[in-house]
C-alpha cells in the first residue's frame, strides 16, 4: 500500500537536490556585495516607514474561516462521490443522492445565512 508513495518521496528528494544544486551554482557564480542600502526593505525608493505589523482587513480572516468550512465539506463529498457509481449500479442511487442532497441542503442553509448577513461582501 504505502510503497506506492515511494515515488512521491523520491520526487521530493530529487527536486530538493536539484534545487540545492541550482542554489549552490548561483552561490558560487553570483557576487556578494551587501551594503546597508541594498539590504534595506524595499518601499519604492523611500526609507521604509512604520512597522510591517499593519492592520489587516478583517475579511481575510473570514475568508479563511469559510474556506475551512467548505474544504471540509469537499472532503466529506469525496468518499460519497467515489462510491456513487457503485451505489447506482446496486440500485441505491436514489438513496445516495437524497442523502447527499440533505447534507448539501444543511450546508446551503448556512451558506445562505452567511450571504444574507453580508459575510461574503468585500467592502
Amino acid at each position: 500500500m504505502f510503497e506506492r508513495f515511494i515515488p512521491v518521496l523520491l520526487v521530493l528528494g530529487v527536486a530538493g537536490a536539484f534545487s540545492g544544486v541550482f542554489l549552490a551554482i548561483s552561490f558560487l557564480l553570483g557576487p556578494r556585495r551587501p551594503d546597508a542600502l541594498k539590504d534595506s526593505t524595499y518601499e519604492c525608493g523611500i526609507p521604509a516607514r512604520g512597522s510591517i505589523q499593519i492592520r489587516f482587513f478583517v475579511r481575510f480572516f473570514l475568508v479563511a474561516l469559510f474556506f475551512l468550512l467548505f474544504d471540509l465539506e469537499a472532503v466529506f463529498l469525496y468518499p460519497w462521490v467515489v462510491l456513487y457509481k457503485g451505489l447506482l449500479a446496486s440500485g441505491a442511487g436514489g438513496f445516495a443522492l437524497t442523502e447527499m442532497g440533505v447534507f448539501l441542503l444543511v450546508l446551503l442553509t448556512g451558506f445562505l445565512y452567511v450571504w444574507k448577513k453580508g459575510g461574503l461582501e468585500w467592502q
Binding site: 512521491v8 520526487v11 534545487s19 510591517i52 489587516f56 475568508v63 457503485g86 448539501l104
Partner: protein, 351 residues
C-alpha cells in the same frame, strides 16, 4: 511506471535486479525526468508567453537571441539569473525567507507525481490520485504566506494575504468542479479517469452531459485564479503591490517562484486535459499511436488558452474576485454536482 520498469529490465546490468530495486530505480528515473520536464516547460512557456503576449498586442516579442524568433531568450534569462546576487534583506526572517521558494517549488512539483502521461506511465499510481494532486498543490499557499511574512515588507505581506485569500477561495470551486467527473468514473485514480474517456471526442467528459460542460468552464476559471495569473493576478498586481509576495526576492530564489508559477500553469492545464479533455486519447478513435504526445499537445493548447485569456482581459478588482468565487462559482459547481447526479439516475447510464 510499468513501462519504465520493463524498459529498465531490458537494459544490461539491470536484468539481475530484484523487483523492488527496479521499482525504486524506475521511480528515481521518473523523478529526475519530471524535474527536467518541469524546468524545460518553464523555459519554453516563458518564451511562449512573451511571444503570445507580443502577437496579441501587435508586436513581435523577443526576436534577437538565437536568431529564430528569439527562441534562446528564456535560456539566456535562466543563465543570467544563475549569476545574480542573492540578496536577503536585513529585516527579513532569514530561515523562512530562504525556505519559502523551496516550499512553493516542491509543492507544485509534488502534484506532478500523479499526472498520467500515457497508459501505465505515471510516476506514482495512487488510488487517491486527483485528491493527492489538490492536496499537494495546496502547499503553494503555505509557501506564499511564508514568503510574504518573512520578507518583512508591506507589499509582500499584502500580496501574500491576497494570494492566500484568493487561492484558498478558488480551491473550493476547483475541487468541486472535478467532482461530477469522479461521479462518472467512480475512482480518484488518474489512470482510471483517463481510461473512462476512451473512444473519440464525444466520450470526453466535457461533452458527456451539459453539467459537465459547465463544470469544465468553472474548473478553467478557477484554475486561472489558482495559478495567480491575469485577469486574477491580485497577489502581484504590479501597479499596486510592486511584485507582491516576491518583491524582496532576487536571483535564483526569485527564479524558483517563477519556475513554480509555470509548473503550476502546466499542471492545472494537464489536470484539465486528463479530467475533462480525454487525457491521452486522440479526438478521433483509432489514432492513438502517440498517447504521451497527444497528452502534452493538449496540455500546451490549454496553456495557450490560459495565456490568451491573460493577455486579453483586464484585471478584476479584489471584491469582484471574491464575488465571482463565493456567489457564482461555488453555487454553480454545487448545482453541477446535483444535476449530474440526477442525470446519472434518470438516464440509467452507468459509466
Amino acid at each position: 511506471m510499468d513501462i519504465l520498469t520493463a524498459l529498465l529490465q531490458g537494459l544490461p546490468g539491470f536484468g539481475g535486479m530484484s523487483d523492488q530495486g527496479l521499482f525504486i530505480t524506475g521511480a528515481a528515473v521518473m523523478a529526475t525526468l519530471m524535474f527536467t520536464v518541469m524546468a524545460l516547460c518553464a523555459i519554453v512557456f516563458t518564451w511562449m508567453e512573451r511571444k503570445v503576449a507580443g502577437f496579441i498586442q501587435s508586436r513581435y516579442g523577443p526576436m534577437r537571441t538565437g536568431r529564430w524568433h528569439g527562441w534562446a531568450q528564456a535560456v539566456a534569462d535562466m543563465l543570467k539569473i544563475l549569476g545574480k546576487e542573492d540578496i536577503i534583506p536585513a529585516e527579513a526572517d532569514k530561515g523562512l525567507f530562504v525556505f519559502a521558494p523551496l516550499v512553493v517549488l516542491l509543492g507544485s512539483l509534488l502534484a506532478w507525481v500523479a499526472v498520467p502521461w500515457a497508459p501505465g506511465f505515471v510516476a506514482a499510481d495512487l488510488d487517491l490520485g486527483l485528491f493527492f494532486i489538490f492536496a499537494a498543490s495546496s502547499m503553494v499557499v503555505i509557501g506564499i504566506l511564508m514568503a510574504g511574512w518573512a520578507s518583512n515588507n508591506k507589499w509582500a505581506l499584502y500580496g501574500a494575504a491576497r494570494g492566500a485569500a484568493q487561492m484558498v477561495s478558488y480551491e473550493i470551486p476547483l475541487a468541486l468542479a472535478t467532482i461530477p467527473v469522479i461521479m462518472h468514473v467512480g475512482s480518484l485514480n488518474t489512470q482510471d479517469i483517463v481510461i473512462a474517456q476512451q473512444g473519440g471526442i464525444w466520450h470526453w467528459f466535457i461533452l458527456r452531459d451539459p453539467f459537465l460542460f459547465v463544470a469544465f468552464w468553472m474548473y478553467f476559471i478557477a484554475s486561472i485564479a489558482e495559478t495567480n495569473r491575469g485577469p486574477f493576478d491580485m497577489p502581484e498586481t504590479e501597479s499596486e503591490l510592486v511584485a507582491g509576495y516576491h518583491t524582496e526576492y532576487t536571483g535564483m530564489r526569485f527564479a524558483f517562484f517563477f519556475l513554480a508559477e509555470y509548473a503550476n500553469l502546466f499542471l492545472v492545464s494537464l489536470i484539465a486535459v486528463f479530467v475533462f479533455l480525454g487525457g491521452w486519447w486522440s479526438p478521433i478513435p483509432g489514432l492513438d499511436f502517440a498517447p504521451a504526445l497527444t497528452f502534452v499537445i493538449k496540455g500546451i493548447l490549454m496553456v495557450f488558452l490560459n495565456m490568451w485569456v491573460r493577455w486579453t482581459l483586464p484585471r478584476v478588482r479584489v471584491d469582484q474576485l471574491m464575488y465571482l468565487c463565493w456567489k457564482v462559482m461555488i453555487p454553480v459547481t454545487l448545482l453541477c454536482i446535483v444535476g449530474s447526479g440526477i442525470l446519472m439516475i434518470t438516464s440509467g447510464a452507468v459509466g
